[in-house]
Subunit: 296 residues, 2 copies
């Protein structure tokens, strides 16, 4: 069914809303009619990974909203924020075949009006891993996602497993704040050489793009060893050495964590994730893979 | 109209719900029928001040929910939490004549299930004044109020001006987090001697209860001087001396703030509030009054 829907059905432009008040009116009408609303929050610069989220939303929800908002609160540096690609027209064109019901692309002041002063933070899941290297990043994510969920009153929201810490954090805050939404995680899409799709890949030099394949290669090998019962300490030491020998400029972390709450694990004794963050030529990439221990 | 509704119309018990899931079902039915929902969040130990909030809700909303939840996250000490009165049966009996549609009295673990890890905080309004003396208090308030608003999806919520910093903070977070609710502030109710109604008054000794009248007396006199154009520095020095001479055991603060965002003011050049926190015999009382400057 998802295949049928992915075929270009129409070339009509998707309506673009920029104001919360308009969004509320459209969505209230859908909810009154008993229709479910699926949200795909993005920062634009859409690629096939986003399209997989849109297809998942299309398959599960009556109405699909894609948001395009480059959230300043989740960037750690003005340079990174400025460098983030903004391609609204191309994004809208890419979405045209997917039967998206509306695009929501608010301006900064619509999301953060003068005097904006509220922060949502998630203590345990929002600390460690990426947080150590991007302080404040997850407060920015938690705050904007809370706002997008309350603005849309979405019944379902779709996030990629690529940003795994973000996915688990969003699932926790949606439960903790009683947002009445199901958070759906979607598997990471990969290039032929295994590199996870990311808007940041376009910033890699061709040589660094080739080198980046060391990330999924190393993760796959380590996942196999962990699933076979080897302890994390040994497997991760070897994997770190392999990454650094394979062209990683700087390795931020490579860690084994429990899948459901990202608590550190010494071995894959329960459903787990192996997560990595590494730099290639001035570009920071993250990736992760599930570790499902064989019954022993 | 409010008077009619305040007459005992029925002695039937108000339904009490304890689970979010049940609450959602009731409220979804009301919203489907196009009815508006008014929320009166309380920590129980109800008095006439709460009943004024209920009457205001009854006058503005089709359905009225009163919540009874002593929120552990907003207490600074275990002793203060333990000492807080819990009188659910008496509260339910008091509410019976008010045509409340339901009482929501969740247990602690229903509001904060295992692994609860999310905090809502409001930076500017949630700092200074009470926050200096009750660190973390407003994070606890902001988090529980966000949850009560998302759980109920209330269209209107009613808060007393007695807790003025809380009222302004809730108004800000409801706007910032797009909760789609109107926050309605209701004037403080007072005893014959001017003392603001508060659940804490019952913990005062008879002598301290008499002494507490110095709070509204001093506020009234200072408000008159400020409204007449005197500068805050002079007026507040005099008022502080009067409070300490009048039996205040410890004065935490007495400050003039801008009404809408609680920014400090040197004079009542725009709509302002005079706010005080003071201790009498081991009990902390707060109060405040509006300062509306005469045109000069």
């Amino acid at each position: 069914m998802a295949d049928d829907r992915n075929l270009p059905a129409t070339t009509a432009a998707v309506p673009i809303l920029r104001r919360r008040a308009d969004l509320r009116i459209w969505i209230a009408g859908w909810h009154r009619a008993g229709e479910t609303v699926g949200l795909v929050p993005t920062m634009g610069a859409l690629h096939d990974g986003h399209m997989a989220l849109v297809s998942a939303a299309r398959a599960r929800a009556d109405r699909v909203i894609v948001t395009l908002f480059v959230n300043p609160k989740q960037f750690n540096s003005a340079a990174d924020l400025a460098a983030y690609p903004r391609t609204e027209e191309a994004d809208a064109a890419l979405l045209a075949p997917y039967e998206v019901d509306l695009l929501y692309a608010p301006a900064g002041e619509e999301m953060y009006p003068p005097g904006f002063d509220t922060t949502v933070s998630v203590a345990g899941i929002g600390t460690g891993l990426c947080d150590l290297y991007r302080p404040g990043h997850f407060d920015g994510v938690a705050t904007v996602v809370t706002k997008l969920l309350t603005q849309t009153r979405a019944d379902l929201a779709f996030f990629g497993e690529k940003d795994f810490q973000q996915l688990i954090l969003v699932r926790r805050l949606a439960r903790d704040l009683d947002l009445g939404v199901e958070i759906v995680g979607c598997p990471t899409l990969r290039e032929a050489d295994g590199v996870a799709l990311s808007s940041r890949n376009s910033r890699l030099s061709p040589a660094d793009r080739r080198r980046a394949a060391i990330l999924p290669e190393t993760l796959s090998a380590a996942v196999a060893a962990l699933a076979a019962g080897e302890t994390a300490a040994n497997v991760l030491d070897e994997a770190r050495a392999r990454l650094l020998a394979g062209g990683v400029e700087r390795l931020e972390y490579l860690e084994l964590r429990r899948e459901r709450d990202l608590e550190p694990l010494a071995a894959a004794t329960e459903p787990a994730r192996l997560l990595v963050a590494a730099w290639f030529g001035g570009v920071r990439l993250i990736d992760n893979m599930p570790v499902i221990a064989a019954l022993r």
